[in-house]
């Protein structure tokens, strides 16, 4: 009994210890730094000046930009991934090939992805050249570093499509074909089968897919840095600038805290919603 416990402890120690050291401890450090303690530069004393310094236009704009990218990517990706998952569900000719090609972005690092898409969207990129060549436009369109952040959204959707697709495919897979057949048998057209059966039964999967992509994109650095607008930047980019360009480590820590806790908040919302949905499902 005692040795069993000891074995168990030894088994979970590396994993749990790693998580504690690099996650809990790091988050705690960041929180403390945001209020002036454990400062890496200068003296340490309890102060909220870093938090007050955040209450300016730049931070608010960055926050809203990150929120927009997070929400926009999460739902923007869903618009593509859900119909695709529905299509790939019924194995037809070619679905396997499509399924594999679509997973490619999964293996391309974000920074590389950003550069790849850059080549397509750039002022003298593939898209503009093609449109010019076809005579559809007579001057190249400025699609990079646009103020709204369309490029960021496009790249994020491209990058996150396979994530959502994998989650949604697994969810749809778990719906018995008998249930769908029963609905058709009772008079539901294909559209109504989706509306009344598939959609509600895959709601938990949709929720997971949306929240996951939100968290992945809300804290994005690489893609915004490469393809995003000059102003505003994302929270992560702002954090980097504060820390390494302006040497404002305290402010950077505050931004880190905001990113972390916003993500945690969404995880919590998601967990509650998922539980509610699961209860409905029973």
């Amino acid at each position: 009994m005692r040795t069993d416990r000891l074995t168990l402890l030894l088994l979970i120690l590396p994993g749990a210890g790693f998580i504690f050291l690099f996650l809990a401890a790091a988050i705690a450090m960041t929180v403390l730094q945001s209020v002036g303690l454990y400062s890496l530069v200068g003296e340490s004393k309890l102060t909220f000046e870093h938090w007050f310094s955040l209450a300016d236009r730049t931070f608010v704009d960055s926050f809203l930009f990150s929120l927009k990218v997070g929400v926009g990517s999460a739902f923007g990706t869903l618009v593509f991934s859900y119909p695709l998952a529905l299509f790939l569900r019924r194995r037809r000719y070619g679905t396997q090939l499509i399924g594999s090609i679509i997973k490619i972005p999964l293996f391309v690092p974000a920074l590389v992805a950003a550069f790849l898409i850059l080549n397509v969207l750039a002022f003298h990129g593939i898209l503009n050249s093609t449109l010019l060549g076809l005579g559809i436009i007579d001057r190249p369109l400025r699609m990079l570093n646009d103020k709204f952040g369309w490029n960021v959204l496009i790249i994020q959707i491209w990058k996150n499509l396979p994530f959502q697709l994998l989650i949604l495919a697994a969810t749809l897979e778990s719906i018995q074909t008998d249930i769908e057949d029963a609905a058709r048998n009772l008079g539901a057209s294909p559209w109504r089968v989706i509306r009344h059966i598939i959609l509600p039964l895959s709601a938990p999967g949709i929720l997971i897919a949306v929240v996951l992509v939100f968290i992945l994109t809300f804290g994005d650095y690489a893609i915004t840095k490469v393809a995003g607008p000059v102003y505003p930047s994302s929270l992560s980019v702002l954090m980097y600038t504060e820390a390494f360009t302006l040497q404002q480590w305290g402010s950077a820590a505050c931004i880190g805290v905001v990113i972390t806790f916003a993500s945690l908040l969404f995880v919590a919302i998601y967990a509650r919603a998922a539980r509610a949905v699961a209860e409905i499902g029973q």
Partner: protein
């Protein structure tokens, strides 16, 4: 309401032929059962009638109307699935209402018909439950109510009782049959359980490897199987190979048998078959159709005793009454009445 006709229906999966030229006429209001071992193509046939898949060739007709290209939601069939296939996110009442909602039946009539269906299957008080909160038997009733409430032209059952325990199975079997008779709805019922098929059907279709072996009323099929497959699949059968020796005589390695009068045999190899319950201990001095057999096993089965017999290396089975006092190892004479012997293919 209409009859159902299958005309030379064929269906392949890849290179494998699952349904191989099925011809079948089901009259209005009739209950016909597809009976056969697992994998013989029963479900595939049923799914083609429901419209979930199309035949590769052949026709499916409801009444006079060819249905091959009609999608399932326009067929007005109702199916009870083996898995029940209830909608897990809907209550019992919502499940039953689904078909009516899809048909855009006015709300007041929906309420009335749902109430009726719930009474029919005795689910009062459970309307607000979800399928996950019901027992297997209750789920089965919801599936049944959901099907009949739409007043289908054709009712389809795919092994609806296979997930119930034995006692409940018998009870629900009777209820389904009564309900079907009362509604007068044309019904195609699938099972691999021969007792269920015999008990519930107007006619039984025995299937084997995608083909129909024989069609008939339960008793006719049981008494007059045409093939050794049917004889063996419906109940138990003793099947012996032999040679025809005259119009009503068959010579076999275990003796000569005179067989029933209704078929002339000619000559050549034949198989004969009889039921274990038609074999009895011979009265002293009897001469016709006598088999001298060694008793290899005596199994008490409650209402009868089952004997395992050995005749010149061939194993036979007999059912005798429980007064039987023989033992393993005894050598006894058994008689088989000639009108109970069938010549089978």
């Amino acid at each position: 309401m209409s009859g159902l006709r299958l005309r030379n229906v064929v269906r392949h999966y890849g290179g494998f032929t699952a349904v191989d030229g099925v011809d079948l006429d089901i009259a209005k209001g009739e209950l016909v059962t597809l009976l056969g071992p697992s994998g013989c193509g029963k479900t595939t046939t049923l799914r083609m009638v429901a419209g979930f898949m199309a035949p590769d060739s052949g026709d499916i007709l409801f009444g006079e109307r060819r249905m091959n290209d009609v999608p399932p939601h326009r067929r007005n069939t109702a199916m009870v699935f083996q898995s029940y296939a209830l909608f897990p996110h809907m209550t019992v009442a919502e499940n039953i209402a689904f078909g009516l909602k899809m048909r855009k039946i006015p709300a007041a009539e929906q309420m009335r018909r749902i109430g009726e269906a719930i009474d029919t299957v005795s689910l009062r008080g459970l309307e607000a439950r979800r399928p996950g909160q019901l027992s297997g038997g209750q789920q089965q009733r919801v599936a049944l109510a959901r099907a009949i409430v739409t007043q289908p032209d054709i009712l389809l059952f795919d092994e609806p009782l296979s997930n119930l325990d034995a006692k409940l199975r018998e009870k629900v079997r009777l209820e389904i049959r009564e309900l079907q008779k009362r509604l007068g709805v044309t019904t195609l019922y699938v099972t691999h359980d021969q007792v269920e098929a015999l008990a519930i059907s107007d006619r039984v279709v025995v299937m084997n490897k995608g083909r129909i072996e024989q069609v008939g009323a339960p008793e006719a099929l049981y008494r007059q199987p045409l093939t050794s497959f049917v004889a063996d699949f419906l109940g138990a059968a003793n099947i012996v190979s032999g040679t025809a020796a005259g119009d009503h005589l068959v010579t076999t390695p275990i003796g000569r048998f005179s067989v029933g009068p209704e078929r002339k045999l000619g000559s050549g190899p034949v198989k004969i078959s009889w039921r274990p319950e038609d074999m009895r201990v011979a009265a002293p001095g009897a001469e016709a159709n006598i088999v001298g057999a060694r008793v290899r096993g005596v199994v008490f089965c409650g209402s009868f005793t089952e004997l395992v017999l050995d005749v010149a290396g061939q194993q036979l089975r007999a059912q005798v009454d429980t007064g039987f006092r023989g033992r393993e190892g005894d050598l006894l004479d058994f008689a088989v009445p000639s009108d109970r012997i069938r010549v089978v293919a």
